[in-house]
C-alpha cells in the first residue's frame, strides 16, 4: 500500500517498482543467472541452458500440480514413490514384446495406464485426507511409503530396463524446432520442457480463468467461508490431489522415456521435496490461498540452475543440499515483503 502512495517519477520507475513489489522472484531469477554466468562462463552456452530445461522438467511437471495442492491448503509427499509406481507400470507394459519383437502393448495404452495409476494414487490421497479428515502431511507421507515399498517388492528392488525403441525414448530425449542458420545450429527445444510449459499454460488458465481455480484459492484461503458459500470443499480438495497425481504420471512418462528404465529404489527419489521446494521458491504460501504458476516455473528452473552449477563449478554433490537450502531461505526472504 505504502508503495502506491509514493509519487511516480516516470512510467519506467513505476513499472520497475511494480515488478519489484509483485514479481521479485523474477528479479531473484535474473540475479542468479548473472551470478552463474560470471562464475562459470560455460553456463550461459545454449546447449547448457537447454540441458538445464530438459533436466528440470520432470520435477517441474510435479511442481505444477503441487502448486494447486498447496494453494488449496494441502501438500503431497507421495509424488516421488508414485512416480516410481506409475513408471514401473509403464516400463513393464512397454517392454512386453511379441514373438516378432514388436511391442505387445501399444505405447499409448502403456502411457495411459501410467497416467491412470498416478491419478488414482492422487484420488486415494485426496479421499483419505477429506473423508478421514487427517492432515495431508500424514496421509501422503504414509501413502508414499506404501507406494515405494510396493514397487520395491514387486520389482524385487531391482532396476528393469524398458524396450529401447526410438518412439519411446524420443519423448524424453528429443527436441523440436531445431534449425540451422548459416553455420550456427539451434538444437531445438527439449520436448520435456515443451510438455512442462504446455501444462503450465493449462494450469495457469485453470487457476486464473476458471471457477474451479477460484474455488481452489477459496478453499485454501478460508475453508469455512468456502463451505458457507456452498463450495464443495472436499471435491475441490480431491481434484487437486488427482491433478498432482496426473502431473506425476506425466513426469513419470518423461523420466522413464529418458532413462528407458525404472529403478525400484531411486526412481523419483526426493522428487516430492524438489517439487515442494520449487513451489516455495516460487512464492506460493504453504499456508494456502496464495500462489502463482509463474512463480513455480521460475522456482523449478532455479533449482535446475543450482544443480547444473554444482557440476559446472565442480562442487561436491554432497554440498548441493546446503546450496538449495540457502536458495530457499533467500528466495522466501526476498518475497516476504509482498505479504
Amino acid at each position: 500500500m505504502r508503495a502506491m502512495e509514493q509519487r511516480s517519477e516516470s512510467p519506467v520507475i513505476d513499472l520497475a517498482r511494480r515488478v519489484w513489489r509483485d514479481y521479485s522472484i523474477l528479479v531473484v531469477f535474473v540475479v542468479i543467472i548473472i551470478i552463474c554466468a560470471v562464475a562459470a562462463p560455460r553456463f550461459i552456452l545454449l546447449d547448457n541452458l537447454l540441458n538445464i530445461l530438459r533436466n528440470t522438467s520432470t520435477v517441474g511437471a510435479i511442481a505444477l500440480g503441487m502448486t494447486l495442492v498447496i494453494i488449496a491448503g494441502g501438500i503431497d509427499l507421495s509424488s516421488g514413490p508414485v512416480l516410481a509406481v506409475s513408471g514401473a507400470v509403464l516400463i513393464l507394459l512397454q517392454r512386453m514384446v511379441n514373438a516378432d519383437g514388436s511391442p505387445a502393448v501399444p505405447l499409448a495404452v502403456a502411457i495411459l495406464a501410467c497416467l491412470a495409476v498416478a491419478t488414482s494414487f492422487g484420488f486415494v490421497n485426496g479421499f483419505i485426507v477429506t473423508k478421514a479428515k487427517l492432515p495431508p502431511f500424514i496421509v501422503t507421507l504414509a501413502v508414499g511409503i506404501i507406494a515405494r515399498s510396493l514397487v520395491m517388492y514387486f520389482m524385487r528392488g531391482a532396476t528393469v530396463m524398458g524396450n529401447n525403441i526410438p518412439q519411446f525414448t524420443g519423448i524424453g530425449n528429443g527436441s523440436v524446432l531445431s534449425f540451422q542458420l548459416g553455420s550456427a545450429t539451434f538444437p531445438g527445444i527439449p520436448i520435456p520442457f515443451i510438455v512442462a510449459i504446455a501444462m503450465a499454460v493449462v494450469f495457469h488458465i485453470l487457476l486464473t480463468r476458471t471457477k474451479f481455480g477460484t474455488y481452489v484459492f477459496a478453499v485454501g484461503g478460508n475453508e469455512n467461508a468456502a463451505r458457507y458459500s456452498g463450495i464443495k470443499v472436499d471435491r475441490i480438495r480431491i481434484a487437486t490431489y488427482m491433478l498432482v497425481g496426473l502431473c506425476t504420471g506425466i513426469a513419470a512418462t518423461i523420466e522413464m522415456s529418458r532413462m528407458a528404465a525404472v529403478a525400484a529404489t531411486t526412481s523419483g527419489a526426493q522428487y516430492e521435496f524438489e517439487a515442494i521446494t520449487a513451489v516455495i521458491v516460487g512464492g506460493t504460501s504453504l499456508s494456502g490461498g496464495k500462489g502463482r504458476i509463474v512463480g513455480s516455473i521460475v522456482g523449478f528452473i532455479i533449482l535446475g540452475i543450482v544443480n547444473n552449477m554444482m557440476i559446472m563449478l565442480n562442487i561436491s554433490p554432497y554440498l548441493s543440499g546446503a546450496v538449495k537450502g540457502a536458495v530457499i531461505l533467500f528466495a522466501v526472504l526476498m518475497q516476504r515483503r509482498e505479504r
Binding site: 500500500m1 476458471t210 477460484t214 477459496a218 484461503g221 478460508n222 490461498g289
Partner: protein
C-alpha cells in the same frame, strides 16, 4: 434453583413488564440493608474507569466497589462493558483513566494478569482456560510446580497439594486425571481450585452456570456461598437474572459503558434488573412504513430441534424483515445454521414457498435461493486473501453453469454491485483484507445479492461496522425487502432490531419465548423474553 432458599422475599410471578416500574425503580435511592456483606469494608474499588478501543469509548468513568466476602452480581446487555471492566481488573486491558484499588492499595496501571493473580484476583472465563492434555494438578500449579532438590517437578508433592485444595472445595477429583476426561462442572472446580491455590480474595466468574445442569448449578452456588463465608469476594456475571437474585448480595448494572445502579438484591426483582439493563428512552423511530407489503409465506420452519434448539416454529413472508433477538447462546445462530444446511437437526422441516426442501449442505440451501451472511465475516464470510471480484461471485458462479468464470460478465456485475452497495475500494481487484469492516460486510452481502437470494439471513449484519456504513446497510436491507426478498436479521443490538424490523422473535435457551410486532416493541419487553424472568 435457589441455593439458599428463604433468603430473599418471594416475588409474584407476574408476566407483565410494566414500563412504569422501570421509571420508578430507576430513581429509587440505594438503601443499605442489614446484610453484613453489603456493609463490609471494600476489598476492591474501581473508580472512574474509562476505556476506549480504536477511538470508541466503551467505558465511561465507571465506579465499581466490592466488599470483603461479598457476592456482587454484574449485569448488562451484550456490549454494555462488563467484560471490558473485568478484563481491566484482571490486568488483561489497561484503563485509559481511573484507578483500581485492591486491599487498600492502588494498582499500577500496566499490571500484568500474573501479578493480579498473585495479589489475589482470579478470573474464570466463560471458555475455561485449562490445558486439556495436562492433569488436574498440573493445571492447578501451572508454572508454579513444586520442585525437588534436583530442580525437577515433584509430582508427588504437587498431587498432594492439589488434592488438599480440592478437598477444601469438597470435591473428589483425582488430581492425576487428565483434564479432558472431566465434565464441564468438574473443569470449573479445577479452575476454582487453581484460583484458591493463589490465595484468591476476589474471584470473577463470567457466566459460570451456562454449561451446567441444575444440580451442578446448586453445587456451584453452595460453593460460592462457602467461599463468601471464608471472606472471598465474588463478582458474578450472568444473564440469568434469577440466579443473580438467588446467589448475590448486591447487583451492579452497566449500560452502554456506564454504571446505572448498584442495588441490594432484596430490593429488586429480576424484571426491574432487566429494565435497568435496557433503561434508555424508547425512541419511536421504527420500521413502520418502509418495506413492501408482506404477503405470502416464503420460508416456513416447523419443529426444528436438536441438542440446543427446542421445537422451533416460525414463518417469514415475502418482503418482510423479521428480527431475531435474544442473548448470546440463545440458539439463534444455530437455528440459522440448521436452515442453511450447515448443521443437521434432529427433527423439523423447512419449506420454501410451500415446497419442502431437504437441506443437507449449503449448496442445497443456495439452490433453494437462500442466502446467509454469517456473524463472523472473517471466519465464515469472506476469503480475506482474495479480491472483491472473487468474494462477490463465489455463489453466483456456483449457481450458473459453465467451466470458465466469464470475465466480462463477472467484471460487469461486480462493478454494478460495487456501485449499488457503495463499496469503497481502489478497484474490484483489491484484496478484501484491505477493506474497512463496513465495506467487508458489504462484500459479504454482495455475494448473496449477485446470486439472487430470495430469503436472506443476516446474522449480526453490522457487527464491527462504523455508524455511516451501518445506516447504508440498513438502507440496503430495506430496499431488498421492498423488492420482495424475505429478510431475517439476527441481532443482539436491540436498537438495530427496532430500526429495521417489523416483527421480532425472541429466543432464550433454544426456544422461541416471544414474538412482538413493531407496534408493541419495547426493549424492556425484549429483554424480558430474552432472560428467564418468567
Amino acid at each position: 434453583m435457589s441455593a439458599r432458599p428463604g433468603r430473599k422475599p418471594a416475588r409474584t410471578p407476574e408476566r407483565k413488564p410494566a414500563a412504569k416500574t422501570v421509571r420508578k425503580t430507576a430513581v429509587r435511592p440505594v438503601r443499605r440493608t442489614a446484610s453484613t456483606q453489603a456493609g463490609a469494608p471494600p476489598v476492591l474499588q474501581m473508580r472512574g474507569i474509562s476505556k476506549s478501543f480504536f477511538g470508541v469509548e466503551v467505558l465511561h468513568g465507571v465506579d465499581f466497589t466490592v466488599g470483603k466476602g461479598q457476592i456482587m452480581g454484574l449485569c448488562g446487555e451484550n456490549g454494555a462493558g462488563k467484560s471490558t471492566l473485568m478484563k481491566i481488573l484482571a490486568g488483561i486491558h489497561t484503563q485509559d483513566a481511573g484507578e483500581v484499588v485492591f486491599k487498600g492499595s492502588a494498582m499500577r496501571r500496566n499490571v500484568t494478569p500474573l501479578e493480579m493473580q498473585n495479589l489475589g484476583i482470579s478470573m474464570i472465563h466463560q471458555e475455561l482456560n485449562l490445558l486439556n492434555e495436562l492433569t488436574v494438578a498440573q493445571n492447578i500449579f501451572l508454572c508454579r510446580e513444586p520442585r525437588s532438590a534436583a530442580g525437577l517437578i515433584n509430582f508427588k508433592r504437587m498431587n498432594e497439594q492439589a488434592a488438599a485444595v480440592l478437598e477444601r472445595l469438597g470435591e473428589k477429583i483425582d488430581p492425576r486425571r487428565k483434564v479432558y476426561d472431566l465434565k464441564i462442572a468438574q473443569k470449573q472446580m479445577v479452575e476454582i481450585a487453581k484460583a484458591i491455590s493463589f490465595n484468591v480474595e476476589l474471584l470473577v466468574m463470567d457466566e459460570p452456570t451456562s454449561p451446567l445442569t441444575g444440580r451442578e448449578t446448586r453445587i456451584l452456588f453452595d460453593l460460592i456461598s462457602h467461599l463468601s463465608e471464608q471472606g472471598i469476594a465474588v463478582v458474578y456475571i450472568s444473564h440469568r437474572l434469577k440466579e443473580i437474585i438467588d446467589i448475590c448480595h448486591q447487583v451492579t448494572v452497566l449500560r452502554d459503558g456506564q454504571l446505572v445502579a448498584t442495588r441490594d438484591v432484596s430490593e429488586v426483582t429480576a424484571r426491574q434488573i432487566a429494565a435497568l439493563m435496557v433503561g434508555r428512552e424508547v425512541k419511536e423511530s421504527r420500521a413502520a412504513d418502509h418495506a413492501g407489503t408482506p404477503d405470502d409465506v416464503v420460508l416456513d420452519v416447523q419443529g426444528v430441534s436438536d441438542r440446543l434448539l427446542k421445537n422451533v416454529d416460525f414463518r417469514v413472508r415475502r418482503g418482510e424483515i423479521l428480527g431475531f433477538s435474544g442473548l448470546i447462546g440463545a440458539g439463534r445462530t444455530e437455528l440459522m445454521e440448521v436452515i442453511f444446511g450447515m448443521r443437521r437437526p434432529e427433527a423439523g422441516s423447512v419449506r420454501i414457498e410451500g415446497r419442502p426442501v431437504t437441506v443437507r449442505d449449503a449448496i442445497d440451501a443456495i439452490r433453494a435461493d437462500l442466502g446467509f451472511v454469517t456473524e463472523d465475516r472473517k471466519e465464515t464470510g469472506l476469503v480475506l486473501c482474495r479480491d472483491i471480484t472473487d468474494n462477490a461471485n463465489y455463489v453466483s458462479w456456483l449457481k450458473n453453469r459453465g467451466f470458465f468464470k466469464g470475465r466480462k460478465s463477472t467484471a460487469d456485475s461486480t462493478r454494478r454491485i460495487i456501485e449499488r452497495l457503495r463499496i469503497r475500494c481502489s478497484s474490484p481487484a483489491q484484496h478484501v483484507s484491505n477493506l474497512s469492516g463496513g465495506n467487508q460486510q458489504k462484500v459479504a452481502l454482495a455475494k448473496w445479492l449477485l446470486s439472487g437470494a430470495r430469503v436472506l439471513i443476516l446474522d449480526e449484519p453490522t457487527r464491527g461496522v462504523d455508524v455511516g456504513a451501518r445506516q447504508e446497510i440498513y438502507q440496503i436491507i430495506r430496499e431488498l425487502a421492498a423488492e420482495g426478498v424475505a429478510v431475517i436479521v439476527v441481532s443482539s443490538d436491540l436498537s438495530e432490531i427496532r430500526s429495521i424490523c417489523e416483527r421480532v422473535i425472541v429466543m432464550h435457551e433454544g426456544r422461541i419465548t416471544g414474538t412482538l410486532n413493531a407496534s408493541e416493541f419495547t426493549e424492556a419487553k425484549v429483554m424480558y423474553y430474552a432472560t428467564d424472568v418468567v
